[in-house]
């Protein structure tokens, strides 16, 4: 149980930085390309500004990533023994293919200003950005295997699952749809950050760079909306695949205890969600049927029926995830996502024809980046908690996956240790981000790299 908390906390924390790293890498590369093509100084300064935010993020993304890899062995050794033949390969390949690319070329990019030719230097940030995307695909393929195991056989004698078809693992339909969903969410998160930051500058710190921030705010909002649409479309396809592969997760997402046809979707419910009487709920007919099956009259199996089916298949046991948590994380994921999109739309409207949103909207601009971040976290909680009691769906339960040797005290020490350390680092990191945003666009010349940048003389005139 403690191990689950630890994995949950460290993973959600790690995933604050992952989407921003992916999105900001491509944004930085985009600005630098614009500078390379046009030679306009404004683009160079935007490259540096966004690049700084990217690097502050990346530092935490990478160090928390090592913890992720080590945890499988430290806290989940039984899991590692059982699935290592399949699950280990993607992790190793991710390191060899993606992490080496990201970190090596980022080093070249950070310190390569003025040392590499402009074209080569631009290439380094693109290579690093592509590295982040490759890494995302491989690790999502590994996670998708836990959601929907394919290409394997269980070897009873050896007591483990063995890889039979690696291509099947890499082209798992779950991975194919989860990847665009996650990448789109990453750009949505990044769009929200750019919009929030640029709007704050426009409203609170008017100055000569307003033109650049105005363009950034609009570009961010458009990025958020377009990727938001993609998130919705891919999420919808995911929902149908999920209903097919893990019907229990969909049933729990609605707290649907009895099978319904057609099934209605509740916007929210006041009540216990334990199958007893719900006090109050707003329901939209047919919607759950559509979400789950693509047909407004589709039949959606309820938790009680699914529990019986799984008992027949896997033997006696409780196969129902924590329904209230699954129910609410599902709604919060969608809700915070929609809210972010609505805010972006509204800001775009307020910025039409050279206008500016008033000071009263500042709070919304500041809150905006946190909405997709929250949506991401809820999404991971939903998909991981909704899979319970399984760690690998249909193959291995979470309870049997933990390390038998680590004591409660040991896990408690590391749990508290990581949580405290991560908390402190979060404060430091947010503080640095705020300082950067306050400082605004840095003065930039093409030959000076980041190593000179935070000198006392530069950019802290406030």
């Amino acid at each position: 149980m403690l191990s689950r908390w630890q994995f949950g906390i460290t993973t959600v924390y790690h995933f604050f930085f992952v989407p921003l790293t992916i999105g900001l890498a491509f944004t930085t590369a985009g600005f630098q390309t614009a500078w390379y093509r046009t030679g306009k100084e404004q683009y160079l300064r935007l490259t540096r500004f966004v690049g700084e935010l990217f690097l502050i993020n990346f530092a935490l993304g990478i160090v928390t990533g090592i913890v992720q890899e080590f945890q499988f062995g430290m806290n989940w050794s039984s899991y590692s023994r059982f699935v290592g033949d399949i699950f280990g390969a993607p992790l190793a390949i991710e390191g060899l293919l993606a992490f080496f690319l990201e970190s090596t070329f980022l080093g070249l990019w950070i310190f390569g200003w003025g040392r590499l030719s402009k074209g080569v230097h631009l290439t380094t940030i693109w290579v690093a950005a592509v590295g982040t995307a490759i890494s995302a695909y491989i690790i999502l393929a590994a996670n998708s295997w836990m959601q929907h195991p394919v290409g394997y056989e269980v070897n009873q004698a050896a007591g483990r699952a063995e890889l039979k078809d690696f291509l099947a693992v890499l082209t798992n339909v779950t991975a194919l749809i989860t990847f665009p969903h996650t990448i789109a969410a990453a750009f949505m998160t990044t769009g929200a950050l750019l919009t929030g930051v640029a709007l704050w500058r426009l409203v609170r710190r008017k100055g000569p760079d307003d033109g650049a921030f105005r363009a950034t705010a609009k570009a961010g909002a458009v990025m958020l909306l377009v990727s938001g649409l993609l998130v919705a479309v891919t999420g919808d396809i995911q929902g149908k695949i999920m209903t097919d592969q893990q019907p229990m997760k969909m049933a729990a997402a609605e707290a649907l205890w009895e099978t319904e046809q057609p099934a209605s979707f509740s916007l929210f419910t006041i009540g216990t969600l334990d199958g007893s009487q719900n006090v109050f709920s707003i329901r939209v007919p047919y919607v759950l049927s559509f979400l789950a099956t693509g047909d407004f009259n589709g039949k959606v199996l309820g938790i009680n029926d699914l529990q019986k089916i799984q008992e027949q298949k896997f033997g006696p046991g409780d196969y129902t995830p924590n329904t209230p948590v699954t129910y609410w994380t599902f709604r919060l994921m969608i809700g915070t996502g929609i809210l972010a999109a609505a805010a972006a739309l509204w800001f775009l409207f307020r910025m039409r024809k050279g206008r500016l949103p008033g000071r009263g909207t500042l709070a919304i601009a500041v809150a905006l980046p946190f909405l997709p971040l929250a949506a991401n976290s809820f999404a991971w909680m939903f998909t991981e908690i909704g899979r319970q009691p399984w760690i690998v769906f249909g193959l291995m339960t979470t309870a049997t996956a933990v390390s038998p040797t680590s004591t409660t005290l040991e896990v408690l020490i590391t749990l508290v240790g990581f949580t405290l350390l991560y908390g402190v680092l979060a404060v430091v990191m947010v503080g640095l981000m705020i300082r950067r945003v306050r400082a605004g666009l840095p003065e930039a010349t093409a030959d000076k790299g980041f190593e000179h940048e935070a000198e006392p003389e530069l950019g802290f005139g406030y």
Binding site: V63, I66, G95, F100, L421
Partner: protein, 332 residues
């Protein structure tokens, strides 16, 4: 050669790469507040590893991933068994990485001074504990018939383990000094250069004691010869450093670390984690390995991509081959 042997060799290669490369990062990190007397000097010290330290650390991530993929039982027993040391190593790596990246992002000297101390401590911890871990792996730890580690933190803190820790710590410290002498100029370079001999002599005594003990316990003829060559390379490094041939000195200390680690892996083979409870329970390249199918796929991927990685990482070192100069203050 069997695939399991190939993967044992590959994992050894990854650890060698990790220790040779990150070894000087650890050394530089520990030396940062000691060797850098002034703020510009400290910035220069960090700039020597700035472009490369992150890429160096990936060797660890790949070594861990490769162990998981090729020898899941080894990965599971090792990582769950060495629970608290690995936690401390992780904390060290986190704090050090964040420190290197965040230190220069604020101009206040207090902020920077604090990070410098943290970077030094956070470099010290893994530099010590990796040696403790590997000494224990080679010597053997209590493992039962279910391949589970049955000891605790204090099982690992035995004299032999601590000697192993002191060995990696001192080797990395010397390696870092040699690297700094190679990569800096002027007074900083002189200071690093002068320190190599005294630190190196202490290192030599400890490292020879550790490698001799290891090879007497579990060594083979080959592993002993490799250890002896490592010692010779170290002597060469110290002499080259005295002659101010810093490139050769760095090559010498790199070869020393590479061969010392190789000697440990040679002494380990064909076990991957011997059991001190009963040799029958030992994890070996055979009983800890993945299926031939997985190993084949991994081999194909490794054969294609490892040379590529070596090529572009090598290019990075070429791009940043110049010595780092101490810059009084950035120009506005």
């Amino acid at each position: 050669m069997e695939l399991t042997t190939v993967w044992f060799a590959l994992i050894a290669f990854l650890w060698i790469g990790y220790f040779v490369l990150e070894g000087f990062d650890f050394g530089v990190g520990m030396l940062l507040p000691v060797l850098g007397k002034t703020e510009p000097e400290r910035r220069a010290i960090l700039r020597t590893i700035g472009p490369v330290w992150d890429g160096n650390e990936v060797w660890l991530i790949v070594a861990g991933g490769a162990t998981f993929a090729a020898f899941p039982e080894w990965y599971a027993t090792l990582f769950s068994g060495f629970y608290l040391p690995l936690f401390l190593i992780l904390v060290g790596l986190i704090v050090r990485g964040v420190g290197i990246e965040y230190r220069n992002k604020e101009s206040s000297l207090r902020w920077r001074g604090r990070w410098d101390v943290l970077i030094a401590v956070a470099s010290f911890i893994p530099a010590l504990l990796w040696g403790v871990a590997f000494a224990n792996i080679v010597a053997g730890v209590p493992i039962d018939g279910d391949k589970q580690f049955t000891g605790n933190l204090f099982t690992l803190l035995n004299p032999f383990g601590l000697l192993g820790g002191a060995t990696t710590l001192l080797l990395f410290l010397t390696h870092g000094l040699v690297f700094l002498a190679l990569k800096t100029e002027g007074e900083l370079r002189d200071r690093a250069n002068r320190l190599v001999t005294p630190v190196g002599l202490v290192t030599a005594v400890v490292a020879v004691a550790f490698l001799a003990w290891t090879n007497v316990q579990t060594g083979t003829l080959v592993s002993s010869v490799v250890a002896a060559v490592a010692a010779l390379a170290f002597v060469g490094a110290l002499i080259a450093n005295r002659l101010r041939r810093e490139g050769w000195a760095f090559l010498g200390s790199a070869v020393t670390i590479a061969l010392a680690v190789a000697s440990l892996f040679l002494a380990l083979f064909p076990d991957v984690m011997p059991s001190s409870t009963n040799p029958v329970y030992s994890l070996t390249t055979t009983n800890a390995a993945s299926t031939p199918y997985t190993l084949t796929i991994m081999t194909v991927v490794a054969v294609i991509f490892t040379p590529l990685v070596l090529l572009y990482q090598g290019w990075t070192y070429w791009v940043f081959r110049k010595r780092v100069t101490v810059q009084p203050s950035a120009k506005r």
